[in-house]
């Protein structure tokens, strides 16, 4: 994509080093000169925002571990100790806690952007699938992190989610005992979750590197969805997109800051400030907001095993998305019918999130079932058929033509 390197070492030392490790050329080619479609809009800035959030979470996490104690009798109090005694502990913990939520805000926008503009279509299938794997690891990491404060919601969330594995026929009980290291969620569980919660962000960082590698092989998609045809369609990443991404990152951090300073517990659950009690389940147990749509799908199915299968399928189906969408036009901008169904799908996902936050009673049960059904219907029926039936609008001749047409 980027062609032969334009890097010319300017000094004798630079030349000497370049011949031994061409890392400066690599950085220049991929972080500065990388040819990027010139029409990317602000929806494309969330990749950079996500990279920043991963770094924020790793940095705040590393310092929190300097004060946290992963032991069932001490964990809850050590978090309160961070909040009350540790210098700026309140800030660091609130940054980490709200950082997780903001990370998911950004990843959901990033994913919906990919869905609207067809960023998963050939030749970007592997790029998309690596993204789905990143999302799965993010969910596992956030789940284990939520267990560490050892509040009531930590404990019961951990118990309910690990119990999902007990639905596996024949070996389910062995699997849950193995996951717990005992007969229930207890100290061994807390310790291993802590270990993995520290490990997985670094695994994420490595897979993010693969994600960017795959991106730099095939190049960015863009709002028109058509291929880059030549140098007139692109701009170097720096300064054009370092500046655009940088601006978006600052705006995003302001929103993040508003939560950290003015509503640090807005996205959390007050019950988690009650220490874990293995003998009493809280009245309304629900996961963090970013899992709620999947929790709603789990509860929509009255059978235990089928409910668990439906929940995991609802995420794993994203891996098949490049082949479920049969349309050869990438961007939703040129697909008039798809555009409508896309927004219906967004509303259905938000609706599932709302249902997931409510107790499984009355009309919530029925609505949960209707929305869960539609979620799968969108992927399995609507997307494959739409590609065959829909007549897309005419595509612009090139990215450059499209940009110039809009200038008039």
């Amino acid at each position: 994509m980027s062609g032969p390197s334009k890097y010319q070492p300017s000094s004798a030392v630079g030349k000497w080093f370049h011949e031994r490790l061409p890392i400066v050329a690599f950085a220049k080619d991929h972080a500065l000169d990388f040819p990027t479609p010139k029409n990317l809009n602000y929806w494309w800035t969330f990749g950079g925002i996500l990279a920043v959030m991963l770094v924020v979470q790793i940095l705040t996490g590393i310092v929190l571990v300097m004060h946290y104690t992963p032991q069932t009798d001490l964990a809850f109090n050590s978090v309160e100790h961070i909040m009350r005694d540790v210098n700026y502990g309140w800030l660091l913990r609130y940054m980490h806690m709200n950082g997780a939520s903001m990370f998911f805000v950004a990843v959901y926008i990033h994913m919906f952007r990919g869905m609207y503009f067809g960023s998963y279509k050939a030749p970007r299938e592997v790029l998309w699938m690596i993204g789905v794997i990143i999302y799965l690891i993010m969910m596992a990491t956030a789940f284990m992190g939520y267990v560490l404060p050892w509040g009531q919601m930590s404990f019961w969330g951990a118990k309910v989610i690990t119990n999902l594995f007990s639905a596996i026929p024949f070996v389910g009980d062995f699997v849950t005992t193995w996951l717990w290291g005992g007969y229930s969620v207890d100290n061994p569980t807390l310790n291993r979750f802590f270990s993995l919660h520290y490990l997985l962000p670094f695994v994420l960082a490595a897979i993010v590197f693969l994600h960017i590698w795959a991106l730099h092989v095939v190049g960015n998609n863009n709002p028109t969805g058509i291929n880059v045809k030549g140098p007139q369609d692109t701009l170097p990443f720096h300064p054009y997109y370092t500046m655009k991404d940088g601006f978006a990152i600052v705006v995003f951090l302001i929103v993040y800051g508003l939560f950290v300073f003015y509503g640090p517990n807005y996205m959390g659950d007050a019950v988690n400030y009650v220490p874990a009690n293995p003998l009493v389940t809280p009245a309304h147990i629900k996961p963090e907001w970013y899992y709620l749509p999947f929790y709603a799908i789990l509860r929509a199915v009255p059978d235990k095993l089928l409910g668990v299968i439906a929940m995991f399928s609802s995420i794993l189906i994203l891996l098949a998305l490049p082949w479920l969408d049969t349309s050869r036009v990438r961007s939703g901008t040129y697909r008039p019918i798809f555009k409508g169904f896309f927004w219906v799908f967004v509303v259905v996902c938000i609706g599932l999130g709302f249902i997931g936050s409510k107790p499984p009673e009355g009309s919530y049960v029925l609505w949960g079932r209707i929305l869960a059904f539609y979620y799968f219907f969108h992927f399995i029926v609507i997307l494959p058929l739409l590609g065959l039936l829909e007549t897309p609008k005419p595509l612009p001749a090139s990215i450059s033509d499209d940009v110039l047409a809009k200038q008039k």
């Binding site: 118990k159 007990s166 193995w178 290291g181 007969y183 207890d186 147990i285 509860r299 235990k304």
Partner: protein
């Protein structure tokens, strides 16, 4: 370098396969301790048995004690509780297996098979919903003994709405199984050892 030159089986192929096989078996053997370390350790297993005195539990009262990190429900059932449970046909149950570690084989989930003969007033079972592990709340739901506005016996899980009757058998989903009865024995007339 090309294998085409050495198309027939030679010493290098043999070494390749033999080395690969040894490395594969070795990797599997080394993986075992890494997987096994996550299973319950000796200190967890050592806590696996407790003794409970049943005498202080009044009729109609249920107590919860901690066993293996889980709540163990012991309920002193009234005659109405027992009669209600006995009146249920096994064919009406969601789970027709007794789920009692003290009863051999695939016994039916009759009330007799959920308790110890002659001690049927004491129902001993794990308070762990068989759906996703929440603690069912006692004296609730539609399958207890209803007198006026109050329900006695019967359990309702607050998480996903599963209900259990006065013998701890699941009567309304999504839970798939009856609440499990752990292995226990009577040490004296009013004292049991669980585990």
């Amino acid at each position: 370098m090309s294998t085409a030159v050495h198309a027939d089986v030679n010493r290098r192929d043999f070494l390749m396969i033999a080395t690969g096989a040894v490395a594969g078996v070795g990797a599997a053997l080394v993986a075992w301790p890494f997987i096994s370390q996550m299973n319950p350790d000796a200190s967890v297993l050592a806590l696996a048995s407790i003794e409970v005195d049943l005498a202080p539990i009044a009729e109609g009262q249920a107590v919860t004690v901690k066993w293996r990190g889980n709540p163990l429900i012991i309920r002193h059932r009234s005659k109405a509780d027992i009669d209600t449970a006995k009146a249920v046909k096994v064919s009406d149950l969601i789970d027709s297996a007794s789920r009692n570690a003290n009863v051999k084989g695939n016994a039916d989930a009759t009330d007799d098979n959920r308790v110890v003969g002659g001690k049927e007033q004491y129902l001993v079972m794990l308070g762990v919903c068989t759906h996703l592990g929440c603690v069912p709340q006692g004296d609730q739901g539609d399958f207890g003994v209803v007198t006026g506005n109050s329900t006695t016996g019967g359990w309702l899980c607050p998480c996903h709405g599963s209900q259990y009757d006065t013998a701890g058998r699941v009567r309304k989903g999504p839970a798939p199984e009856n609440l499990p009865v752990p292995p226990y024995v009577y040490l004296t007339d009013t004292k049991i050892r669980v585990g």
